[in-house]
Amino acid sequence: MKLYEHEAKTIFQKYEIPTPHGETATSPTSVKEITARLAVPVAIKAQILVSGRGKAGGILFANSPRDAENTAEKLLGIEIKGVKVREVLVEEKVVAKKELYFGITTDRAKCSYVAIASSEGGIDIEEVAMTMPEKIIKVFIDPTYGFRSYHAYQIVGKLGYVGSQMRDLATIFVKLYKIAMDYDAELIEINPLIETAEGKFVAADSRILVDDNALYRHPEYQKRLIQEGETELSAQEIEAQKTGLAYVKLDGNIGIIGNGAGLVMATLDAVQFYGGKPANFLDVGGGASADMMASALDIVLSDSKVEAVFINILGGITRCDEVAKGILEAKKRVGFAKPIVIRLVGTNEEEGRRILTEAGIHFLDSMEEAAMKAVEIAKTGE
């Protein structure tokens, strides 16, 4: 779960990592009032969970309370990448002598956390990583030791800081690791980490991604349900989240339902291989019940672009008879507005096929054959 910038900064403040002075607001009037309490110029930052916010015009600046009110007027209520701006963070603008990057994330190959730092922070950090990899400092964190002060000093030394600046920066890094562990962060980063003209360090922007699987340890975030319009997610994606299905919207016209992320991805690939365009990715997961199956069909068919649906089930822990019952249940509940191609093999396959045959629903044996059929139907409409 992605935390809002202001949520992440509240955590930073709790751990005494310096952040710019600021407050959140939902109306231009309160933006004006907040600005009056701060030193100008101020930055007015849209609180939305989309990436590339700055480049998309989500951060504006103002030189006076009145200017801030007018600017907030322009920002509050507009849509950025399809997400409505409901709240802004008003902050004193920090003048940067230098922009650094510091973050902690996980590394699969090493099975560990990795601390990443760069003297070239800012919005183009990903570009830096690709074009100037020598500017990226990486320290793998052995979980037996954790991230200790000496690791921080190693990094800060490589960034070229000495004396009190070395100590200040190292302290921030160690605290950031502490936050990552305390909040089960999959990713935590300060970008940019600003060095001011006076040689102080300030976390100008912050990002924390809390591990979804650890949300049970963080009930304060678990209870916050994602609402439509709050993220880049489509209506179908939000509905799927509520029912526990993994759904991703794509831009084609063949609805896809399968069990297991790998198999569903391979199904998308097969459809594309035969010249079709998938409308979505939908994984019903392992051991899907008839009810889950029916909800899955509901969601896929609610996408008006869908011309045909391809259900690809390979029963392992999922039972084909349950899947077949779910398909019938969905037919009763929503009807088959569009033609459906079914491939059903594996555990309890005979029973599943009997149920479908009795209901007059046709099915196929091989994934390739079924993919071809779905592509053909989506093209001709029959």
Partner: protein, 302 residues
Amino acid sequence: MGIFIGKHTRAIVQGITGGQGSFHTRLMLDYGTQIVAGTSPTKGGTQVCGVPVYDTVEESVERHKANSSIIFVPAPFAADAAFEAVEAGLKTIVIITEHIPVKDAIQVMARAKQAKATVIGPNTPGIIAPNDCKLGIMPAHVFRRGVVGVASRSGTLTYEIATGLSVSGLGQSTCIGLGGDPIVGLSFVDVLKEFERDKQTKAVALIGEIGGNLEELAAEYIGEEGYSKPVAAFIAGRTAPPGKRMGHAGAIIMGRTGTASSKIEAFRKAGVDVAEKPRDVARLLAERLRKKSISTRCKSEK
């Protein structure tokens, strides 16, 4: 004889009294796996499918000389279960549980490495050496004893490809699900090394997907070490749009690394056949094995 497991495997089931645990204990026993004990704190003294249940792993290991474990414990308690298995000296630990926090998984892997224990998973269908031992939840009927070692990051896609190998007559020596999580115990390279040493394995199938760089590292290993057995790969997610999460926490594309094309290119460069469709894996390996046996025969005739 499979890798990591075989007829010598004496396994305990951690979380044996739960729905999944008891259901799959029955299926593993039916397959012929030696399940010697189960654990479930506070349920010691009972039985599941005729298997004695203990409160702790320590007790079950002492009494039954177990050497392996399969874990069905719910995610919040799974890390403790894995630590318990490692500390009790078990050397092969299969973690079926999904949704284990990344922080917990990292700590488990570090501890297991120190104890020289092999962790398979988490979020894996498990491991099967057809006819000898099944430590997992995979449908047994799709597997057939044979010569192809299979390592996969996916569950159902593995069954799809294993079915193809079974139908073609090649069968499988050992089939391992590495697990769908970002942090798992085994990499493709770890498994490739084991298959290289395994006499029953004549060829290897690697089933990868977008996200991470485990496939690229495997390709690098095969290319540099001059791997002696034919390898074929299938990569799921060729057509997945960048930046979209496709179910697995594992399947996230970041930047230019981890894309299907980067993995496919790396494999091709290393001389690995990459299948366009799941069913092509068996065909590609059969061709490679046929060519190899012809060339060996030619050499021996000279």
